[in-house]
């Protein structure tokens, strides 16, 4: 029997330029999951889109065949447009990376999903609705009727991705193409979505092409793996072989770069807290959300009673899923946001200087503080002005603070570039001439020009590929030790944190639930939420798959937790030091 999808010699290019995807071969059997793995720019997205022929208008399919169907295979690339439309959404469907932007905000979810049935089955509204409601129940909407009437913006990211999956599944396709379906989601939500795809696959026998850069996801989902780099296939084969014993140097490099939670660690000693550079005491932050012109305002507690101490020269990581309040913490620490009354944020520039209250500074104190506390942002593409040369971007902070003269500033900028591993010759260039990783180096260099003592890093590597992430983390560790910096490191990725942090605080809905050194935390996680987060982190090892359906439940609601941690409403128990340096929010 022929494979369901057979891609041979696929070559794609833009304009007169050399091809960006060259001679791709792979095939997918019915019911099988194939993972297309690669970093950004590897051509994996173009490859999967060419199956549905939804490439950008300027891309040309230069050569190759895409055969589809087990019995009488059709060549998708030579099909006429009308016949191709009949296949899209019916026999082959697709889910995309960003569930928010992939659904039209102006149409109800039900309308958008039912459209597939109107198109391909010619069903009327009532018949289509019945099928859609069934699918909604299948993908895990508690109230299918309500989801049918909802607009995308009324749903969370995970719910929207479920809606996307429902849309892709409602016509029971033979092949599902999932382009980074979980990259924008938290780990537990990722587990839910992956588990759902797997279950649906078992039920309907469809094949899946999963495009991803995450080897952990691959190990948990795929039977076959195709590793791509720069538009070419580097290595392909069964997942057990490719992941268990990578043959190609590039695959090995990917594995080496993937951060992992240490498997067995020894509990670490408690950190000293005699020289705190930053001390957040009882920090609360309440936002008043105005729901719209004529509706009552609502209060949101972004931080509740947060106590964080950052020892000079170390890294304190705050981890949590989206909405946990970790970014609010960082903003408060930097004085970019004022905490509620009664909160206190103390900053001590050097061990001998007096602490300054960040939440109540005079103008002069604020200017001095801003020199000493700098930030590195998440998205290196939008945090550098495209209209400023590197030199201007790097000297601007010194100009603002009136440091040095023109040539001294220039000299300092060049020095900082050397620090972050870039050539000072690049001073005259604009940011667009740099790759994502290089831009993140630039933005680190910019933060360093003022000789800060504290660096707040807000997800500095989450927009980067794994191999680049590895380099940036190494760089951050290196300059921390060489310049005696202290980091407040915000991340959602436990694996990244386990590597760089000296202490980790796990946040859930504005509350720190557990806090310890990473080795202690991963060796002996106590809180159900921390355990759930660790369990949901997929590892790039085919022999240790995670139970997607189990971990996807996350920690559940607080009233379902073990007696020791259980609470109702917002009455969380206090944070108690169980072992030296290991704090857990529980009833003692």
């Amino acid at each position: 029997m022929a494979p369901l999808l057979d891609v041979q010699g696929l070559t794609i290019g833009f304009g007169d330029a050399p091809a960006v995807v060259t001679g791709i071969n792979f095939s997918v059997e019915p019911g099988e999951t194939l993972a297309l793995v690669g970093e950004s720019g590897s051509g994996k997205t173009l490859t999967c889109r060419s199956v549905l022929r939804i490439l950008p208008g300027t891309a040309q399919l230069r050569a190759g065949q895409i055969k589809f169907g087990t019995q009488s295979a059709i060549d998708l690339l030579s099909l006429d447009e009308r016949a191709m439309r009949a296949i899209r959404g019916d026999r082959i469907s697709m889910i995309f990376q960003e569930p928010m932007r992939s659904l039209s905000p102006l149409h109800r979810i039900g309308n958008q999903v039912a459209e597939v049935l109107h198109l391909h089955r010619g069903l009327g509204t009532a018949a289509a609705k019945k099928l859609v409601l069934e699918t909604f129940e299948r993908v895990g909407f508690a109230d299918a009727e309500r989801a049918y009437r909802a607009y995308p913006f009324e749903m969370s990211g995970g719910m929207r991705q479920r809606a996307m999956i429902a849309m892709a599944m409602v016509a029971k396709p033979d092949l599902l193409i999932a382009d980074e379906p979980t990259t924008a989601l938290d780990v537990t939500t990722q587990a839910q979505v992956l588990g759902l795809i797997k279950d649906l696959q078992k039920e309907t026998g469809m094949a899946v092409v999963l495009v991803t850069h995450d080897l952990g996801v691959v190990a948990n989902m795929a039977e076959k793996v195709v590793v791509m780099n720069k538009g070419r296939v580097m290595e392909s084969g069964p997942a057990t072989a490719v992941l268990g014993n990578p043959g190609h140097g590039y695959t090995q490099k990917l594995f080496a770069a993937a951060p992992m939670i240490p498997e067995v660690a020894e509990p670490a000693d408690a950190l000293a807290d005699d020289d705190l550079i930053l001390n957040l005491k009882n920090v609360n932050k309440t936002y008043t959300v105005r729901a719209g012109g004529w509706r009552a305002a609502k209060k949101v507690h972004a931080c509740i009673d947060v106590n964080l101490q950052l020892q000079r020269g170390t890294t304190l990581a705050v981890v949590g899923e989206s909405g946990s309040g970790k970014t609010t913490c960082a903003r408060i620490a930097l004085g970019a946001e004022l905490p509620d009354n009664g909160s206190e944020v103390l900053f001590r520039e050097t061990s001998s200087s007096d602490p300054v209250a960040v939440n109540a500074m005079t103008r002069a104190q604020r200017i001095a503080f801003q020199r000493k506390a700098q930030m590195v942002f998440q998205d290196p593409y939008s945090s550098l002005s495209p209209r400023m040369r590197v030199q201007d971007a790097l000297t601007e902070p010194m100009e603002i603070h009136n440091l040095g003269n023109r040539s001294e500033r220039r000299e300092k900028a060049a020095e900082m570039l050397r620090w972050v591993g870039l050539n000072p010759d690049t001073l005259k260039r604009y940011p667009h001439a740099f790759s994502g990783g290089q831009r993140q180096r630039l933005s680190i260099a910019r933060a360093l020009t003022l000789d800060p003592s504290l660096l707040v890093c807000d997800e500095p590597t989450s927009a980067l590929d794994v191999s680049v992430q590895e380099q940036i983390l190494t760089l951050l560790e290196d300059i921390r030790d060489r310049m005696g910096l202290s980091y407040l490191f915000i991340s959602h990725d436990l694996a990244v944190v386990s590597r760089i942090a000296d202490e980790v605080a796990v946040m859930r809905q504005g509350v720190v639930v557990e806090q310890a050194a990473p080795d202690t935390l991963f060796y002996n996680p106590r809180h159900p939420y921390t355990k759930a987060l660790i369990a949901a982190q997929p590892e790039p090892d085919v022999n240790r798959p995670i139970d997607l359906n189990l971990v996807s439940k996350g920690a559940g609601a607080p009233d379902s937790w073990p007696e020791m941690f259980r609470f109702k409403g917002t009455q969380a128990p206090a944070l108690i030091e169980l072992d030296p340096g290991h704090k857990v929010r529980c009833h003692a």
Partner: protein
């Protein structure tokens, strides 16, 4: 239910805005030193016409122009008793035009609804032309369709309206037998409505509508095209494509709906731009709209007439923005639910 509450709220804010506008209008009109009557009195004194002076002095007290400015304002609005008791805008008394020596309501009477008619026709024209052209040039961007539509559009933007008016009158009359100037055949003027009069007005409307609407349509088309192009590159368009929708259905259901918002929001801006933009055209075309009256009134400091015309234009604008706000709420659930994207 929520919508009705919002509509009520929006109506109240409109009234409030109108009130603020009335203050601004009154202050601005009174900014230049003197007023129509004091100018006239000075002139009469200089030429020694005593009885004229007496009449002007009489009008000054009659219309309370001798009182402090704030009192004049409240009397004009009708919130304070004037020499004739409460008699201002609120009571439906629009004041006296000194220039024409007649009540303002008599002067603007017919012009009011003719103005509304001409501008509504122009707005309809703008939307009917801009919508299809904008969508087509976005969907077929950078092809000859796009270039042609763009070229015609820029031509429309760049040609002075009065020049376009003259050209159209000449050729319209020569080849199509369209009438030149005016809003209707002179025999119908001052006559009650009749089928013949309606027909005459409609035929006279053709050229003015085209002239006033062209530049608006060209601008609107470019905006719609730009919006559509933005929307076309969004991921949800790709989703719709992956569903198997045909290009035309896809276009009208998804990106067009999104690009429609600025289109609707423009209604409010379109009206005042046209009223003020059509003054010159009205003069050239001899249309008895409110435009020429405004021009004359401003020149001679005929304050009640000018103030009334400005208030009327402001009212049109406010009604336009209110309509577009209400339509937006109906069209866009994100605004309706007061939610933020992200």
């Amino acid at each position: 239910m929520m919508f009705i509450r919002y509509a009520g709220y929006r109506f109240l804010t409109m009234l409030l805005t109108l009130w603020v506008v009335s203050i601004l209008v009154f202050v601005i009109i009174n900014l230049p030193p003197g007023d129509y009557l004091s100018n006239q009195i000075a002139e009469l004194r200089a030429t020694g016409q005593a009885e004229g002076v007496a009449k002007a002095e009489f009008l000054r007290t009659e219309y309370a122009l001798d009182r402090p400015l704030w009192e004049q304002y409240f009397i004009w609005v009708g919130m304070m008793p004037g020499p004739q008791g409460f008699s201002g805008l609120l009571q439906g008394d629009f004041g006296w035009s000194f220039e024409f020596d007649r009540p303002v309501s008599e002067i603007v009477g017919d012009a009011l609804w003719l103005t509304v008619l001409v501008n509504l026709a122009a707005v309809l024209f703008v939307y009917m032309v801009a919508l299809p052209l904008g969508v087509i040039s976005a969907a077929r961007s950078e092809t000859w369709v796009d270039y042609t539509a763009g070229f015609v559009g820029y031509l429309g933007l760049a040609t002075p309206n009065f020049l376009l008016a003259l050209i159209l009158f000449y050729y319209g009359h020569k080849y199509l037998g369209l009438p030149i100037g005016g809003m209707m055949n002179p025999i119908y003027e001052g006559q009650p409505m009749s089928p013949g009069k309606v027909q005459s007005i409609l035929v006279h409307l053709i050229v003015p509508t085209f002239v006033i609407g062209t530049s608006g349509a060209a601008g609107m088309m470019q905006r719609l095209r730009a919006n559509m192009l933005d929307e076309l590159s969004k991921p949800y368009v790709e989703t719709a494509k992956a569903k198997g929708l045909s290009p035309s259905k896809l276009l009208s259901k998804y990106p067009l709906r999104m690009a429609f918002n600025p289109f609707v929001a423009d209604i409010g801006n379109l009206l005042p731009a046209m009223v003020s933009g059509s003054v010159l055209v009205s003069v050239v075309l001899g249309l008895q709209t409110i435009g020429p009256a405004l021009l004359a009134a401003l020149k001679s400091q005929d304050q009640f007439l000018a103030a009334f015309v400005l208030m009327f234009v402001a009212l049109l604008t406010l009604i336009g923005t209110m309509i577009s706000d209400l339509l937006l709420v109906l069209l866009d659930p994100r605004i309706r639910y007061g939610a933020r994207e992200g």
